[in-house]
Symmetry: C2
Subunit: 339 residues, 2 copies
Amino acid sequence: MASIPRIGIDAMGGDHGPGVVVQGVCLALREMPGRLSVTLIGDETEIRPHMKRDVEGLPIEVVHAAGRIDMAEKAVAAARRGSSSISVMTQLHKQGKVDAIFSAGNTGAVVASALLGLGRLEAVSRPALAAFFPSSGGGCVVLDVGANAECKPSYLVQFAHMGSVYARYLLGRDNPRIGLLSIGEEDTKGNDLVFESLPLLRRANHLNFIGNVEGRDVFRDTCDVVVTDGFTGNVLLKTAESVAALLFQKIRSEVAGDPMAMLGTVLMKPALRRVMRQIDWEEHAAAPLLGVNGVCFIGHGSSTSRAIRSAIRTVTTFVEKRVNEHIREEIEADRDTAA
Amino acid sequence: MASIPRIGIDAMGGDHGPGVVVQGVCLALREMPGRLSVTLIGDETEIRPHMKRDVEGLPIEVVHAAGRIDMAEKAVAAARRGSSSISVMTQLHKQGKVDAIFSAGNTGAVVASALLGLGRLEAVSRPALAAFFPSSGGGCVVLDVGANAECKPSYLVQFAHMGSVYARYLLGRDNPRIGLLSIGEEDTKGNDLVFESLPLLRRANHLNFIGNVEGRDVFRDTCDVVVTDGFTGNVLLKTAESVAALLFQKIRSEVAGDPMAMLGTVLMKPALRRVMRQIDWEEHAAAPLLGVNGVCFIGHGSSTSRAIRSAIRTVTTFVEKRVNEHIREEIEADRDTAA
């Protein structure tokens, strides 16, 4: 690792194209001068036009990659295509030319590319995608939200360790509370995976395990980390996102035809803005693929430049705090149940 | 069945006590004169005081049951206790003294009591709890949301048939679109249950099966019925409820200290009320346990009298339209894959 982290960023990732990615990178570099440098990966002819005035004096280099992976492409096949910006980015990381990678592109392809290209941390059986959820407290990390549709109980113990380390170093929680996602708090409720994982989690070392929790606990500040299989976690993630979207859409459409209500929203704007800041997915849009032998974060396809800025901030902190070393140590220290 | 349905109602069910249940019953009976009669089951000394002026001339009888099951009690053990209002209610239904039952009490206990006391419809392997979700269209039914944490693929085909019949007769959908909950639309995504259920659902008769759907599709009017195992469905249900609750709580608390915003909410009230009417859980708070040999609906513990009124309306329609007969017919007609 160089003295300051060099972050590799997929310039072609995301719905809004390279312009928004370049903007986000500039925001991040201006906000954190001297803390990182950036390598943009993608089609130079598309990236360069966005790098005119803004980038002067900023530590950005561009590595050309001719291909791109569309949002709708099948993950594994796409990831194997060596010429894409995602594949080139992963290779740069593998070769040690960048210290971390970030893409707001096709999630499945980034996951597949990282798994194939970087491999796993020695102690980890299955890397997991960790998503941050706002709550009535400081928020909660849920993993896995999609990397492993089928999980063994021992994977969930590893997820717990990885989530615990993440919550400690990235969210500043002292002794992160870990919950196992189930359909009731009682030990007697759950599916086979829950029944088999519960005793393993209970006897794991170094874990502040609080027992079974429910979907609602993710949003209630009852725990800092929730572990589950990647199928259930993915359903939880997409459900939460779409309920919020549905509510705002309904409110917007009802307000649109009602002048008094439109005036009302103007008066409410500062309060609503404060709410949005608290539950802001954009501020926490980057999900780490914990457990790969490298640092890989994935952003929402709809990431704005602000979202990309905060993603880069999180990635940089992850590298600075050497989270992967702590993950390795923590899982090794619980060899009995997790490793 | 008598000429009009007699509905058995657990007067002790719900967080607000018998007073609210009696109020809801009165609202329903006044709204639908001549369409139903009601048997209230519970502790007479607690019910009678709420039956003074309101109930005059209304077709209500009371059956005494001394015991009650608390919301926190373990389901199966509680359900076996014969003296509780839930058990007495189930027995009345089994004996044909009421044509349907409804409780806003302990969900697990009502499910267990119905499964043990009523048994299954002949064609059905596993009854499923079906929940209604508001969407950008007319709403969507998801099942199972908690009766079966572990499911076989053939159960999901039966859930599809039961959900389809329910959507047709209760929600008025002509040819209900059925989706299988997964973590992507592609056939290649999912867990083992999804992979095994998909071909069965594809070749099932009489089903308008549209393939795999995601958590977000529940709220997007892409389908009318979503089938899943009771573990995933329960997580989906509790996540959706708590995201909505979290949003409203955050908005309320930010508005509270801001006089302009408070004025804003006053101006927005009619628009917000229209939104609430569209996404109103109270209007759809009764979840049927489809596939039991009887008619059993379960309400949210926090049900208000309005919620109980709409639940009774739905239960009555379910009996009138003889939904169970249609379920039996539909599953029998697809003997190859579902029965």
